[in-house]
Every structure is written in structure tokens, then in C-alpha cells.
Symmetry: C2
Subunit: 534 residues, 2 copies
């Protein structure tokens, strides 16, 4: 943050100096824009929101927990999307789209305790609708509605979902956010699609280049088996599972209290659970659990453990076992999982750590209900699991059920990690213009328009200045600001003898001169030749 403040100071001095020198207005404007970009970054780091300070008649802001993306942020986001989509397509996925809102009853009863976070549309006559909370339930609804055509499908969907949750914007925890989902639907031999989904998760996170990651892995049946073996009454299993799910954010003591005080669990049972859920490891943990005779006598646990043997074998073939942490504390909040569950975390997922290694406890900002974002981590960046009965909840017959397994990548969180780790927003190039058409004198607006039209018709990305008589320097400044590689420069005399000049704007030679004259009729060919070499 201090280096950002330093940069702002330097940039401010630069702008003042340019103004004092009466430098070209376009240059000054561009430097001011850079300064404001830096200030905005600082505001987003310090959590200050300047957008509300203007004295307009409107509250000039976006709804809480939502945000705009400017063109540079979009350039990064599109890169993230295209990386993910290329992985999905490499594994044979197709894409579908569903509406942003669903009938309210479609979403009801799918999300357990989190259902309170669903956004409803106002009843303006007609059907009662809610904004989608994830892409999984709409996908299940789609499959059930089209079961005659889709007994199996590998599909991805990238779209926004909505949760009335407490936002932590700089950490990518928002009320409106993109999910990138990939799911394999269909009845197959056990753990084969499951292992491919985890392989896909690894490919995505590796290619997104967000640094080291770990995939926490567990199995709902093992977890349910543990709860049963420990003596949790059946009706209390999902609520207790929800409590365990909080172990990544809260210490065991808090979770234990919730189990006992809020959910009425016997403390002895809670402590037995505590012994299990602290276990994590790899294949050796699996072997250890197989030696737990009480656990292995439980049908659920046994089935889960057998699945894990198969899964680990396949993950070894796919060479991703080094990413896996078999973690009995992983429970996942959603009700609909029935088999393996997983969650990818990075070093930035947890709450920040002090220098002595103690974890910072999540805090609220003074006198508000909003998190102090410096105390919050990014959270898991991808998660998912097997859900074998969700489609069946929508189907009219048992035959209509289709087992599924999938992942969801939280691109907003990936985005926030990339911004923290790699990108300097001000250096991101958003504009793809290849050629700027400019005049040395006399304006020549109509000639510039005509040449631009020729370039467009030839598929070349081109712009000109929307001014009848622009000066030369502002035209050059545009090329600099947007890093446009080539200029076509026209003058009256040259046009009269059927010539234009092409100038490589990346070369250091500045000013009016330079560039090479070409015949107007050769202009397109020459530009294409040069553009190919970039």
C-alpha cells in the first residue's frame, strides 16, 4: 500500500510539472487518467469508496456487493475465461445457457441453511421467481426437463449467480459473481468421471497460474458414516455437517459450541466427531481408516472408503495425487452432495497471518455489519462434488434421475488473486486497434474516413480522430496511449500523387517525419504484411 502511495505522489508531481510546462493537453489528460487509476486502486485497497461522494441528485453507486468491471479488468477476465473454456473443451464439454431467474419453487429446499441468501423478484403479477443461487440446480432442472434427450452430457456454463451474503469485495466475495461450472451427467462406472473432474480442476488452476494450490477432498458417505458411528441422530446429520463445514473459518471450539448449544448435540458425541475431523493426509489416512473396525462396519463409511481407493488409483494415473489432501473436516455446506466433495484452496484462501504465524480472526468494520477486508481470506477458489439425487428431485419417475459430478470455479476470487500477484492494471492493454489513420495538415477528414473504411473492409482494426481539423500531436498521443502499432499518415500532396505513408509507431523516431511512402493501392497489402509480423 505504501508503494502505491509513493507512486501516486510521483505521478501527481509529474502531472503538475506537465501542466507547468503547458504540455500537450492529450498527454496531460492521459497522465491524469493514470493518476486517477492509481487513486482508485488505493481506495479499493483501503476499502474507501469515493463513488458516493459526488453531490448528484442520485446515489451514484452500484448495489452493495456488486461492481463494474472496466475495460482493463475485462481484458484480464476474458483471458481467465478463455483459459478455463479451453480446458473444458479439451475434455469434450459443450455449453448450455439457462435464465438468470428460475421459478422460486425450483430453488426451494436445495441449499439447506443458505436458502436465506436467495434473492427473490418482487411479485408484480405472474410467477414467483428467484435469481439463481448457483448453476447446479438450474442444470439439474434442465436435465430433468429434457431427460429424453440428455441421459448424459458433459457441459460447462459460465454465468453470474446471486447471493445475499456479506460481501468482501477486494477478496472476490461478492453478491453478484461469475461461476464457471463443469459437470458430467450420466450413469458410468464408479469414480471414472469423478477422477476426470478433479483432473480438470487441476488443469484449470495450473493454467490460470495462480500459484500453488491444494485440493481438499472428502466423501459425504464417509462423513455420514463418521456421524453415525459417533452417535449423531439421523435428523441432526445435515445440521451437524453444516457446523463441521465452518472449520475452515472457525476454530474447533466454536464449531463444538455450535453443535452443543445451537444444535443440541451431546458433548461426548461432539468430542468423538472432533477426533475424526482433525484428520487429514493422503493414501496413508485411507489405510488408517480401513483399520478402524467400527467405521468399516458402517455401510456408508465402507462404501465411501471403497470409492476413495478407486479414486486415488485413477488420480495417480492422471498424475494429480500430489495436489490432493484427504481432509475429514471438509463437509461443504450444500445439501445436495452424495459422494466425493472437494474444494481448492491457495495460500491466499485462508485469513491473513501475522508475522508470528497466528491467524487473524475475521472482524467487522467499526459500527457496521461489513467485514474488515484485511481480516478476510479469499476462500476456496473452486469446489464441487458428486450429486446423484438432485436431478431426481425434479423428475417424475425414478428413471428420470441422472447422477452427476462437477466443479464450480470462483473466477472472481481467481481474478482477485491475479490482481494481487501479477497484474498492474495500468499496463493492461484493452484496445486492439492496429492502425491509426491521421492527417499531417488540412484535416482531410473525408479522406481519413475513406481510408478507414477501406481498412475496415479489409478486416484491419482501425481508428481515426473524430475531428474535422485535428492537430498532429494529439493524433500521435492517441497511438502512444493505446499502444497502436501502426499509423497511416496522409497529406494533400501525397494523396494527389496516390501515395500514403505508413509509420511504425513502436519505433523511437518521433514527430511528423519518418515512415515509408507506399502507393495507396498497395496500402492494405503492406499493412497486412507488417501486421502479420507482430
Amino acid at each position: 500500500m505504501d508503494s502505491l502511495k509513493q507512486k501516486i505522489k510521483e505521478k501527481g508531481e509529474q502531472v503538475r510539472a506537465l501542466k507547468a510546462q503547458k504540455a500537450d493537453q492529450n498527454l496531460v489528460d492521459s497522465e491524469i487518467a493514470a493518476l486517477q487509476e492509481l487513486k482508485k486502486q488505493l481506495a479499493s485497497v483501503t476499502g474507501e469508496d469515493n463513488s458516493n461522494k459526488s453531490k448528484s441528485k442520485f446515489t451514484l453507486k452500484v448495489p452493495k456487493g456488486t461492481r463494474d468491471y472496466n475495460e482493463k479488468e475485462m481484458a484480464i477476465r476474458e483471458k481467465v475465461f478463455s483459459t478455463i473454456i479451453s480446458v473444458f473443451k479439451r475434455h469434450g464439454a459443450v455449453t448450455i445457457d439457462t435464465p438468470v431467474f428460475e421459478l422460486k419453487e425450483i430453488l426451494a429446499g436445495k441449499y439447506g441453511e443458505d436458502s436465506k441468501l436467495i434473492y427473490d423478484l418482487e411479485d408484480q403479477g405472474g410467477e414467483k421467481c428467484s435469481l439463481r443461487y448457483d448453476l447446479t440446480v438450474p442444470f439439474a432442472r434442465f436435465l430433468a426437463m429434457n431427460a429424453s434427450q440428455y441421459q448424459n452430457i458433459k457441459r460447462y456454463q459460465i454465468a453470474k449467480v446471486y447471493r445475499r451474503d456479506q460481501p468482501a469485495m477486494t477478496k472476490g466475495r461478492m453478491r453478484e459473481f461469475y461461476q464457471c461450472d463443469f459437470d458430467i451427467a450420466g450413469s458410468y462406472d464408479p469414480m471414472v468421471p469423478d477422477s476426470e473432474v478433479i483432473k480438470i480442476m487441476c488443469e484449470c488452476l495450473t493454467e490460470l497460474d495462480i500459484g500453488n494450490f491444494t485440493i481438499k477432498l472428502n466423501h459425504r458417505k464417509i462423513l455420514d458414516g463418521i456421524f453415525e458411528v459417533c452417535g449423531v441422530p439421523e435428523a441432526n446429520i445435515r445440521p451437524i455437517s453444516s457446523a463441521v463445514d465452518k472449520l475452515d473459518k472457525s476454530p474447533w471450539e466454536d464449531v463444538r459450541n455450535e453443535m452443543i448449544n445451537d444444535k443440541g448435540l451431546d458433548p461426548i458425541i461432539a468430542d468423538r466427531i472432533g477426533e475424526y475431523v482433525k484428520l487429514k493426509g493422503s493414501k496413508e489416512l485411507l489405510e488408517r481408516l480401513f483399520q478402524d473396525q467400527e467405521l468399516c462396519a458402517n455401510a456408508n463409511a465402507k462404501a465411501g472408503l471403497n470409492d476413495m481407493v478407486l479414486l486415488f488409483k485413477y488420480l495417480e494415473i492422471f498424475e494429480v495425487m500430489d495436489k490432493i489432501s484427504f481432509d475429514l473436516s471438509l463437509a461443504r455446506g450444500l445439501d445436495y452432495y452424495t459422494g466425493i466433495i472437494y474444494e481448492a484452496i491457495t495460500e491466499l484462501s485462508g485469513p491473513p497471518t501475522l508475522e508470528d504465524g497466528t491467524k487473524i480472526v475475521r472482524k467487522f468494520k467499526k459500527d457496521t455489519d461489513e467485514f474488515d477486508e484485511t481480516t478476510v481470506g479469499v476462500g476456496s477458489i473452486a469446489a464441487g462434488g458428486r450429486y446423484d439425487n438432485l436431478v431426481g428431485m425434479f423428475a417424475s419417475s425414478k428413471k428420470g434421475n441422472i447422477p452427476c459430478v462437477g466443479i464450480s470455479i470462483g473466477v472472481e476470487r481467481v481474478f482477485s488473486i491475479l490482481l494481487q500477484k501479477y497484474y498492474k492494471l495500468e499496463q493492461v492493454k484493452a484496445n486492439e486497434v492496429e492502425v491509426y489513420v491521421m492527417a499531417v495538415a488540412d484535416g482531410l477528414l473525408e479522406d481519413r474516413m475513406k481510408i478507414c473504411a477501406e481498412l475496415w473492409n479489409a478486416g484491419i482494426k482501425a481508428e481515426f480522430m473524430y475531428k474535422a481539423k485535428p492537430k498532429l500531436q494529439p493524433q500521435f498521443s492517441v497511438c502512444d496511449r493505446y499502444q497502436i502499432p501502426f499509423a497511416v499518415i496522409i497529406g494533400k500532396d501525397e494523396l494527389n500523387i496516390g501515395q500514403v505513408r505508413i509509420k511504425d509507431m513502436r519505433s523511437k523516431e518521433q514527430g511528423e517525419g519518418g515512415g515509408s511512402s507506399v502507393k495507396r493501392s498497395d496500402m492494405i497489402t503492406e499493412l497486412k504484411r507488417r501486421l502479420e509480423k507482430i
Copy 2:
């Protein structure tokens, strides 16, 4: 429609024959899927919705006016988007993103009579929000919020918008639909960006290949001038303009009645308006209006006419004048336009025509409030105009205003035209898999997985069957169904001597044999070589 019924009959017979022959189940399944696709198409043509007929505990449907897109529809949609985006980028546009809902007060007072169509979110505590009605108002809000950084920008945005309107689904008139917006914001010399926006509109519609189109063009100032000259009281100008806007759907008599009976206009004034709004043409109409001394004495009209002179000159340079119809009946419903307005139509835009040339009048389905879709046209497929004061409505000072001009392309309508004109959905290839990895016997699941992982790691799109011991024929069927060009075929003996077989699945040779043996270590190189040639 009859040819579709015929196809369904034939396909049905084919399926029955295959079943009778006890053909391979995958082949039967694939034929059944094709049959159901045809039936679905018929249902969408006849307006029947089968999705509601299942006897599930849920109403298994999407909300009224919304729809799912399956993978083949998505393949077409993505092609449409990429065509449009490439045009936008060719003209130097960048993209931004805004939330799907805005604060309710941001949208208030921007849409005139259409404001009643805005979707509100339920008040669940916190801010009052509405789903965006278009992308223009959020863009203006974005500019006003970030005015210090954006005194000018060429931006595009492709996103869904929401209107509680009467849907006509097969015509692409929906409650949730995509808009593709392109706008140029900034203070420039008159009509230069305006002409580029119209050029862009022409490039998009030409490259989308939707057949002939016409751009109806008018100017709000000319229209306001006409209303003033005819004697419309100032307070009544926008309501009367709204009435004129209905002339593309309703005959003059109906519009006249609305003006007189609903909006209290003097019949003499209405008739004077009627004389003007029936005029359409090209440059010669402009010349004719310049000879109308009363009109030219009106400041608004004069300013508009002068703009048109300049615009027509630039449109001639851009060689798009042949697409333009200067049409005084074009008014556009939205309140915020201040300069030129335009709307692109195709032969499918208007209501259907009977054989004798009479237009079918828009009707409701019996006993419902829904349109009979056979009586409804697609409507305009792109539209826009200049809006110089909208950003200012959000800005705190006059300096905060930024003039804008833009277009919005209704891709849903483009999509419906493409489906009617060109595409047979069943032939669209959605899946991009390049190589299918299969075993001739013994299953060899783990070997197939290992080879697939090698292919994925080399960036090759590959799949295998999720079955421990699949038969050969179903594996071949998958290649056929998804038109997968190559298979890697493995057998125990070949693997033992370090070989695999590569088979070109597009060649006619069928069955187990065929293909060429390559060393396992050369497999990737050989596949890449062959894939390059496709």
C-alpha cells in the same frame, strides 16, 4: 412445417426398424435423440410447449418469457457473438461489465411509458434494486460515476436485459434477452461518430448474413420540430412521439385515435402530423423538407436537417447510403434520445403477409393474453440513436455530462432469423473433441485414461468411454454421433510392443480394422500432424 412432420414420420419409422433389428443401443439412442430434436422443433413452430406435461411434483418449466439454450443453439449463438465482437473490435471498441441489477432510482424516469415493464427485486432489507432494462442507462451511470477517467470511450457490452413484456418466443421477443451494445461517448465534431455507428450497424448485419436489411433513420429534432410546427403543446410532445412510434405495428387510424382520444390532441393537429409522418425516402426527401419554409423556420427542425446533410455525406463516404431509409414515422419509444435515431429491419421484421399482400394483424391466442406468434413479426433487429443528456442526468455538474451515440443489436431476433433461414439444428456440431481413445478388447480402462491424460497435456481435445469394459461398437458410435475425426485404438498386444493405432474416423472403412500403427512415443506428433490438416 409439413416437411418437418414428414421428417418426424420418417425418423420414427427408422427408430422402429432399428429396434426391430435389435440394433446397437447407442445407435438407437442417437436416432431417438434426433427424433426428439425434430419433435421439439415442431413444438416450437406450432407454439406448443411440452415441457409442462410431465407429472412431476414441481412445475417443471422456466419462467414465462425466458428459455434455455441447448448446446447446438449455443454453438450458433457463440458464432453470432464472435461475428459481432470482431466488428466492434475492428472499430477500436473495448468492453466493460455492469451488474445485472441497479439501484431502482437509477432506472427511474429513463424509459417513459415503458417503465412499467421494469422487473423489481423483492425488498429483503437493504437497497431497492431493479433488473436492468437495457445496457444504455447502466453505461451512462458508469460514465457519470467515472467521469474523471472517461471523457470518451468506445465500448461494447454484450449482456442480458429484462422486460416484463408480452413474449413471442419463436420471434425472439422475450422477457430475458441478450443485447449487444456499442456506444461512442465523447464530445466530437458533429455526425462523425454518428456515421461510424451506422457503418458498424451495417457491417454487423452484413456479416451476420441475415439477408437484406434496411436502416430506418430519423432525427428527434426534426420530429420535435414537426410536432411544434403542427401545434402540439410542449408537454404533449413525448406522449405524441410515443404514439407515432407505434406506426410500424399499427395503421395510422389507430395511432390517430390514440392521439385524439387518449392524449387529447386536436384532430386538426393530428392530421397535420399525419401528413409528415407518412413521408419516407432518401436525400430527395431531405431536399424537399428544406423547401418547407415553415419547418425550416423552426430552430429544432433546422438543426436536425443540417445534421442530416452532414450525416448523409459521411454515409456516402462509408458507402452505406443504399441501406438507409429516411423515415419520418420513426420515433423510437425511449425518452432519452436527442439526435438521430435508427432502427434496422428485415423482411421478417414486420407481421407476416398473406398471399395477396395484405398484412396480418397481430392477434392474441384464444382465451389468453399471449400473442398468436404466427401473427407477429420479429420486429427491429438493431436500433439506437444519439443521447446527449443521459449521462448528465447522473452527473453532479454540467461538466459531468458526456454526449453519446450508439446501437443495440437484438441477437435473440437475429438468432431466430438464422434458425428460420439457414440452420438445421440437428446438423450443428457443438462438441469439439478431436480424438477418441478406445480399446479393442479387455477394457484397458487405465491405459485409456493414461493415453487421454497424455493427449490433454499436449493440448489435444480427447475423450474416452467411462466404462471399465466397453464393447467396441458403442465406442465407434460415439465417434459417429459427435463427428469425432480421429480414434486412438489400443489393444493389449500392441501396447506390449509399444504401439497404438490411429484411425481416421471420417473415412468410410468401418469395423475393428483399419488405421495405421504408430509408436506410442510418436502418437502425439502424428496426431498433431493430422489435426493440422483438418
